[in-house]
């Protein structure tokens, strides 16, 4: 080795070749992994979404392909989000419920993303929190893992309780607030109420629109 020093060009080229070889090898590995998992990943994503939706509306209540029967609507004043996806559940062709994701409420420290299910008769199938930034231990009890409060929406509608009592108790309504935190539950209650009002305005005609092609505006 010592007697014959390789030329710098040769060294550099060998190094480049080695590096290139491993770059190709690494890319190949990633490519293979991607090929091997792509389908499974897509399936997992679908399953995860379905699990979310099924938490609101049980699997046996509908029989259509929920994931492919949706509309993207834009009603920021009512639903809080620029775009909300509306999944339409049907059973034997008849409308069963709509599931709205996301409905956005303005909490104590930022947006709270909700998923809201509304049956065709205007009662709530269920409400869940998708994500939030509320203070741990105070506002985060809207999360079903911290407290069952959010489950209390199921079965409620704009008539039961009446519209005037769609407030937290402190404001003279029917819904519990949490000790130490009023802003968060107040925001969630208001957002759910708005979603119900939106549904009342749009009504069952939402089921008639053909499955999603374009964004449509439904205020």
């Amino acid at each position: 080795m010592n007697e014959r020093a390789p030329s710098p060009w040769r060294t550099a080229l060998t190094a480049a070749a080695v590096l290139g070889f491993f770059a190709v090898l690494g890319s190949a590995l990633v490519g293979v992994a991607y090929q091997g998992t792509a389908e499974r990943i897509a399936q997992s994503e679908r399953e995860a979404l379905l699990r979310q939706l099924n938490a609101i509306l049980a699997r046996h209540e509908y029989d259509n392909d929920l994931l492919n029967d949706y509309l993207d609507v834009s009603a920021p004043k009512r639903l809080g989000a620029e775009t909300t996806r509306v999944y339409r559940a049907r059973r034997q062709g008849k409308p069963v419920a709509l599931i709205l994701s996301p409905v956005v409420a303005q909490g104590y420290s930022g947006a709270i993303d909700l998923i809201v299910g509304i049956r065709v008769d205007g009662t709530l199938a269920g409400v869940r929190v998708l994500s939030h930034k509320e203070t741990p231990g105070l506002g985060d009890r809207i999360d079903e893992r911290k407290s069952p409060w959010i489950l209390g929406f199921s079965g409620k509608s704009l008539d039961e309780p009446p519209l005037s009592r769609w407030r937290v108790k402190r404001d003279g309504g029917d819904f519990d607030q949490f000790t130490g935190a009023t802003i968060t539950p107040r925001a969630v209650v208001a957002a759910v109420k708005e979603a119900l009002l939106w549904y009342r305005a749009q009504g069952p005609k939402l089921f008639e629109v053909p499955p999603q092609v374009e964004k449509t505006r439904h205020e």
């Binding site: 190094a15 080695v18 090898l25 690494g26 990633v30 992994a33 998992t37």
Partner: protein, 230 residues
């Protein structure tokens, strides 16, 4: 190189050279994800997998890679494996993948992995490197799991919550609630809890070392640990 003591590799990896407690490497993911036992275990296993694969490959190619491109090559290898592991987790452990989030791809920046590739695998035969990877990986995983478990226990009074994320639906029932009335000390699962928890674990390890060190000298001269032959 032929007379590598496997016992020593294992003991070093698990204890004397524990990456989290002694080398203090990989602390960023360690702090971030250890708010529950399952999260800690999940990231620990993912890290171990990457570590094993990278150690194996680096050890295999150790004679062919020129020194001047050694580090870039190692990084390439590690990055490829991390991406592969990320894809696999995304496919089969979807919810856990969502929870661990950015910390899976960040395994690539975990100094433990490049450190072992450079300090061990590039100088030792394949089998020894695999042993080292497993020992180091399990040592790291053990700390993540222990920290996750203690933070979960103190923070919300449960153990193994979310076990189904890792072990499938059947494990949903494994969750242990110590005391349903326990109010939970939120601090433990929030970021400051990670610092305090890790500090306590390090202190505990030092305490144990000192205890055995003292007892060892009192009874019989314990075999002094040899400095690592790298």
């Amino acid at each position: 190189m032929s007379d590598i003591g496997y016992r020593k590799i294992i003991v070093d990896g698990l204890w004397h050279n524990n990456q989290a407690l002694v080398a203090l490497l990989g602390l960023c993911p360690l702090m971030a994800v250890t708010n529950s036992l399952v999260n800690g275990l999940g990231l620990g296993l993912a890290t171990t997998a990457v570590l094993l694969l990278s150690n194996l490959s680096v050890s295999t190619i150790r004679h062919w890679v020129r020194p001047e491109v050694r580090l870039p090559v190692f990084v390439l290898i590690i990055a490829s494996f991390v991406t592969a592991v990320e894809l696999v987790m995304h496919a089969w452990f979807h919810e856990l993948y969502k929870i661990l989030g950015i910390f899976i791809p960040l395994i690539v920046t975990n100094c433990t992995i490049i450190g072992r590739a450079e300090a061990f695998a590039s100088r030792n035969p394949v089998l020894a490197s695999a042993t080292d990877a497993l020992a180091i990986g399990f040592g790291f995983t053990a700390v993540l799991t222990l920290l996750g478990a203690s933070r979960e226990l103190i923070g919300q009074g449960t153990l193994l919550s979310g076990a189904h994320l890792l072990f499938g639906e059947a494990a949903r029932a494994w969750e242990v609630t110590v005391n349903p009335d326990y109010p939970g000390v939120l601090l433990a699962i929030l970021p400051p809890g990670a610092f305090m928890g890790l500090g306590t674990l390090i202190a505990l390890k030092n305490l144990i070392d000192r205890y055995f060190g003292q007892r060892g000298t009192e009874t019989a001269p314990a075999p002094t640990p040899q400095p690592e032959q790298a």
